[in-house]
């Protein structure tokens, strides 16, 4: 039964990614003022959303782990953190490309979403480093879970503080996705959905990898 869901997910992800690419490049019109480069927006926001989703899952898994010691929760947390850092890295790479084309500047410290992404990147990279540094310690899972919880609680606070910081350092231009052409909106939401499926698919993959790693460790300890 589990295998069926896995396969359905793989197929659905693949299909949706192609659909979203079609919508982005063929269905959605080219933006009047900015030209083709505006299309970075679809993938930039999607990677940001995926990163955020991934970190939320780290938060939830960490709580679950602390509550009932579930090995699966711990494995999922790490897999999700890895995916989260990956996608946030992509956000931080596509972001300046977008910013450069749109505002003429590579980086703007008053852009709350981008700056929050940067801080999140550091926080969850720290999570991965903590995971590695605590190594084989039996308490390692508890350490990363506690950090995973503290880290996520910080997320809204970080976002708010950077946003308020903007009040004293006003940015050049603000881009709000609300003012989009309806066909662009369709492409946008479908892409978000496609990336969500992609996240789930990668999470599944990463979880399987973690389980298999666990199995190996148990086998080795048995010797």
């Amino acid at each position: 039964m589990k295998a069926d869901w896995s396969k359905i997910l793989s197929v659905a992800t693949l299909i949706m990614m192609f659909v979203s690419l079609y919508l982005i490049f063929i269905y959605a019109p080219i933006e009047k003022t900015m030209g083709v480069v505006q299309k970075i927006f679809y993938v930039h926001v999607s990677t940001a959303w995926t990163g955020f989703l991934a970190f939320f899952v780290v938060f939830v898994s960490s709580i679950i782990f602390l509550r009932n010691g579930s090995r699966l929760a711990d494995i999922v947390a790490y897999a999700s953190a890895e995916i989260g850092v990956l996608f946030t890295s992509l956000t931080l790479i596509t972001g300046p490309m977008w910013a450069r084309s749109f505002w003429g500047k590579w980086w703007d410290w008053s852009e709350p979403r981008l700056v929050t992404a940067l801080i999140l990147w550091f926080i969850y990279l720290g999570y991965l480093i903590l995971h590695r540094s605590a190594g084989e310690d039996v308490r390692r899972a508890r350490f990363t879970s506690v950090f995973g919880i503290i880290a996520f609680i910080n997320v809204p606070i970080v976002f708010l503080s950077v946003r308020w910081y903007r009040a004293s350092h006003p940015p050049l231009l603000v881009f709000e996705p609300g003012g989009l052409d309806p066909s662009m909106k369709v492409a946008f939401f479908v892409t978000l959905f496609a990336f969500t499926l992609l996240y789930l698919w990668l999470l599944n993959l990463g979880t399987r990898a973690g389980k298999v790693q666990d199995e190996l460790r148990t086998l080795k300890e048995g010797l």
């Binding site: 993938v43 930039h44 990677t47």
Partner: protein, 47 residues
């Protein structure tokens, strides 16, 4: 502006999909290696 914009866009999309693809491959190969090691250990245990 349109020209360099096009370049950025191509780079952005290529990078995103290349990285996703690369990560998937890396996870897959990691898993394969471990599974082979497990098999080898299991074989050794049988003997």
């Amino acid at each position: 502006m349109t020209d360099s914009g096009m370049t950025y866009m191509v780079i952005a999309y290529s990078l995103v999909f290349a990285v996703i693809f690369g990560y998937t491959l890396s996870l897959g190969s990691r898993m394969g290696k471990i599974e082979r090691e497990i098999e080898a250990l299991k074989q050794a245990q049988k003997k």
